[in-house]
């Protein structure tokens, strides 16, 4: 069956089976920026935002979220217009293989929405659901810290 979703602010009609996970449906339809690391809800590589809230898309039936807004990592910034968090990741060496990055960046994004001025401990806690085997998390936490301060600056300048 075909169902329409709002993905990264665009309406899209996607083909799916009733028992398919959101992860599968997204990837099958070309949204390969959503990664699959375990399909058991344990790594966060498949994390997307549903109405702004982070969820592991491998643990969600696609059918059940048809009315919600879906955001993937491309929804917050792109190669040509990257988000401050994405820039901070790339500049700070927070991406090695980058396989965890789409999920990690979104987890950071959602953390900074809730808490724009987190301590390093709060960042670490906020990223608790996302595994990374390459970086040892040191540079990820630093990058999020850096991005938070840049975002705050940007905001105070705008005000």
């Amino acid at each position: 069956m075909k169902i329409s979703f709002t993905i990264n602010s665009r309406k899209r009609d996607l083909e799916l089976q009733p028992n398919e996970t959101l992860l599968n449906v997204l990837r099958k339809n070309g949204l390969t920026e959503v990664k699959s690391g375990c399909e058991e809800g344990e790594c966060g590589a498949c994390l997307v935002l549903l109405d702004g809230k982070p969820v592991n898309s491998c643990q969600v039936l696609a059918m059940s979220v048809r009315s919600k807004k879906i955001t993937t990592v491309k929804g917050i910034g792109t190669l040509h217009s990257p988000h401050i968090i994405q820039k901070a990741f790339a500049q700070g060496g927070a991406d090695q293989c980058g396989f965890c990055s789409p999920g990690m960046v979104l987890a950071a994004y959602s953390l900074l929405q809730k808490n724009p001025n987190p301590t390093r401990e709060e960042i670490a806690e906020g990223l608790d659901g996302n595994l990374c085997r390459c970086t040892g998390y040191v540079k990820i936490v630093e990058a999020v810290h850096e991005a938070a301060s840049k975002l705050r600056n940007e905001k105070s300048q705008a005000e």
Partner: protein
């Protein structure tokens, strides 16, 4: 002094990675593609008497079933190593003997993944169960022979005795151990165990294949070794090398786990037979059970020493659990000796004995650290014990006894990779400086004294600090080869093609920086293409801490050759002699008596335009290869502070300081990242990671959650400090950094534990139950 090297340039693929643009193997799909699923053995040791796949084949959507019935049994090793491989030829793609739970029974290719999975359930397999060997300490000479009558043989002339379940044996001695040990006034003997481990690269193993327009086979794979994949697929799938192209796109981590040719021959065969694209992606469970692991080890150290702490004799005996097949069995074993024993090179009498044994358990393979991690657990503690016993300050002890610049160790020659090693003089080390800086940064002296004194008396939570010095290698000397090709474009940019394989380590960027430095041209000017067997020259691949050191050297040579051509054309255009010109900021400039003549310069773009279109036309291009005559060790010192809850047995890390000598760090931020990632993996291995098996040899903790991965929340404060040295044989002084830092956590934490409690840990992981039992001994 450097302009592009030793700068933390942003990774050239960085933004594309974090915006989700880059593609990994599983992100490639093709029209008409088949999905492949594998049926794995549920028995640790069994003979397949028959497979009946008729019900599976009858299913709508099932296109092909591969098993021993229709795939030729060609012996090979899955280890992605140079040819001839030092690992025994003891594997076939699909056999009729299952040697561990997770071994491949058959493969089904179907129109969808769902159909392929459903079809697996319809394959009827009649097994005859055999008595398995599930304890590696009982494998040698067991009545159960794991490779019997299968023709398994060593490809190179080394000791191999399948009838006794011996997959590998390594022995070496310098001096006379027995004699020196007997005469030593003090002696200790200790045994240590380290468990199985999974690499846990976040991207599961994956391979996709298709036929190109001319009928050649293209394999896209998450591999560390594209050229070895091409060679091995050619052999086992019986397809000529000329008809195979292997591409490694972005890869979601490797750590040694993808230095193995497992999935590629299967998709290759499906595509070759059906003429259709095929995809195989392992589930996380399959990665845990059916790919490769860190070998389980038992190490026994016998040490004889004097009252002043001087060690006269050291014997390291290693027993390695190779699992059902002998992938990397020999070389990991050799490295357990060759990457540890040279560190304290003043010991005159050294003996190494090791056996890798077959069992009916998951298969070992390459894993960051490669034997060194396994052996440092004991080696690092032994040194601490000797110091403790003789009242030596371990920091000063290491400074005094470790190998120095200008020195050698007979072990370099005695222990090679399947053959004699290569004698080598160490020409770069800043280890003493590393130790000095690390001691300072960690507050070593104050804390060691404090925690060793009354501080912990009567306390439930006891604190300790421990340290360890480490070495590894950089590439396999006189075996590994890397090469690079470069050509110049009309705007002064360059294509840089390398066989080297970026695993997320940033080697594409690091190699571009090296070319940048030679040509004094920004990194953006280099278009890097890597790991495509059709379009890039040969490279053995990403393993053995080789890429920066070895592939980097090939790139440097290649860029130097380009530079010469540019200078020649430039001088010609400026009508001066070649001795009067040099490159500077993407131009050729005239310099006389050390002064630059500003009116006489020509840009790289002008030079290339001239050479392509105008005068004495030719393509400015070069290729270079490199083999290293040595494997210069990187060094490191790790200082770890812990707190032990003596009621629960929980060890908490309070602080981790690592000082590292990787020569010149070509890209310091990326180098630090390598160290940090390795340290955290090392901590997880020391504290949590293990394989738990049922009595039937079934892996019980085959998910991230049950396995014990660390998250951002679990990590202690980590400080990595690079303490440079300059390695003459490396590009711009570089050595390696990717592996060494995984070796510190095991001995470092154990030494800290001794400082806290006065007890020694002999078994990893340091799970609370075990720790408690040690405390209450």
């Amino acid at each position: 002094m450097f302009k592009y090297v030793k700068h933390s340039v942003e990774k050239i693929d960085g933004l594309a990675l974090v915006t989700g643009e880059e593609h990994y193997t599983n992100d490639f799909s093709f029209r008409n593609m088949l999905y492949v699923s594998i049926l794995h053995s549920t028995f640790p040791y069994a003979k397949i008497e028959d497979i009946d796949d008729s019900a599976a084949r009858a299913m709508d959507g099932v296109v092909e079933v591969l098993s021993y019935k229709n795939v030729k049994k060609i012996l090979y090793t899955t280890a992605g190593q140079g040819f001839p491989e030092p690992s025994p030829y003891d594997s076939v793609l699909f056999g009729d003997v299952m040697r561990f739970v997770g071994d491949n029974v058959c493969a089904v290719a179907a129109e969808t993944k769902e159909i392929a999975d459903a079809a697996l359930a319809k394959v009827k397999v009649r097994y005859k169960q055999l008595k398995p060997v599930l304890d590696f300490e009982k494998a040698e000479g067991s009545s159960t022979v794991i490779h019997q009558d299968d023709g398994a043989f060593p490809k190179i002339p080394v000791f191999y005795d399948a009838s006794k379940n011996i997959a590998a044996k390594v022995e070496a001695e310098v001096g006379n151990f027995d004699d020196a040990f007997a005469k030593s006034p003090k002696k200790i003997e200790h045994q240590f165990y380290v468990p199985y481990a999974s690499h846990c690269a976040l991207e599961p193993h994956a391979a996709v294949s298709y036929l190109d327009f001319r009928g050649r086979l293209v394999i896209i794979s998450s591999t560390q070794v594209p050229f070895h994949v091409r060679r091995i697929v050619s052999v086992v799938a019986e397809i000529p090398v000329s008809k195979i192209r292997v591409i490694k796109p972005r890869i979601g981590g490797g750590f040694g786990g993808k230095q193995e040719v497992l999935l590629e021959p299967i998709v290759a065969l499906v595509t070759w037979r059906t003429k259709r694209p095929a995809k195989l992606v392992y589930s996380r469970k399959e990665v845990f059970t059916s790919t490769r692991t860190r070998h389980q080890y038992r190490t026994t150290f016998k040490v004889g020493y004097n009252k002043d702490g001087a060690i006269n004799a050291l014997h390291l005996d290693a027993l390695e659990n190779s699992g059902g097949y002998g992938s990397h069995a020999l070389t990991v074993l050799a490295n357990a000796g060759s990457k540890t024993l040279p560190l304290l090179n003043k010991i005159q009498n050294l003996k190494f004995t090791g056996r890798g044994v077959y069992t009916n358990l998951p298969v070992g393979g390459a894993y960051r650290g490669y034997g060194a991690t396994e052996a440092y657990f004991g080696y690092g503690q032994i040194v601490d014990m000797v110091c403790e016993d003789t009242g030596c300050d371990i920091v000063e002890y290491y400074k005094k006894w470790t190998i120095k610049s200008g020195e050698t160790s007979p072990i370099f020659k005695a222990l090679g990779e399947g053959k004699e090693g290569v004698a080598m003089i160490v020409t770069s080390t800043s280890l003493n400086e590393c130790i000095h800086v690390g001691a300072k940064l960690s507050g070593w002296y104050e804390k060691r004294k404090l925690y060793g004194g009354d501080f912990n008396k009567g306390k439930r939570d006891k604190r300790g600090i421990g340290m360890v010095a480490l070495m590894q290698g950089s590439a396999i000397p006189e075996i590994d080869m890397a090469s690079a090709y470069m050509k110049m474009n009309d705007d002064g940019s360059f294509n840089l093609m390398v066989g080297a394989t970026d695993l997320g380590t940033g080697s594409d960027t690091v190699l571009a920086q090296i070319a940048s430095e030679v040509l004094d041209t920004p990194v953006e000017k280099f278009i890097v293409t890597s790991s495509d067997t059709d379009h890039t020259p040969f490279d053995t691949g990403a393993y053995a801490s080789s890429t920066t050191y070895l592939s980097g050297h090939a790139v440097k040579k290649c860029a130097e050759s380009i530079k010469n051509q540019i200078l020649k054309v430039g001088a010609d255009l400026l009508t001066v002699s070649i001795g009067e010109v040099e490159v500077e900021e993407s131009r050729v400039v005239v310099r006389r008596k050390g002064k630059q003549d500003h009116h006489q310069e020509v840009s790289f773009a002008e030079i290339c335009q001239s050479s392509l279109y105008q005068k004495n036309q030719f393509q400015i291009q070069a290729t270079a290869s490199h083999v290293s005559p040595k494997s210069p060790p990187p060094f490191a010192a790790h200082f770890i502070e812990i707190e032990v809850d003596t009621f629960t047995g929980i060890i908490k890390l309070l602080n981790y300081v690592a000082t590292v000598d990787c020569g010149t760090p070509i890209n310091p931020v990326l180098a630090e990242g390598q160290a940090e990632g390795a340290i955290v993996n090392g901590i997880a291995y020391a504290l949590f990671e293990d394989y738990y098996f049922s009595p039937q040899g079934i892996l019980l903790n085959d998910t991230f959650g049950k396995y014990g991965m660390l998250t951002a929340h679990d990590i202690p404060p980590i400080t990595v400090k690079l303490v440079d040295s300059f390695e003459e044989s490396g590009p711009f002084g570089a050595k390696s950094i990717s592996e060494i830092n995984i070796n510190g956590a095991l001995p470092g934490i154990a030494n800290a534990f001794f400082n806290a409690t006065g007890k020694r840990l002999h078994r990893a992981p340091f799970m609370p139950e075990y720790v408690l039992s040690v405390i209450n001994e």
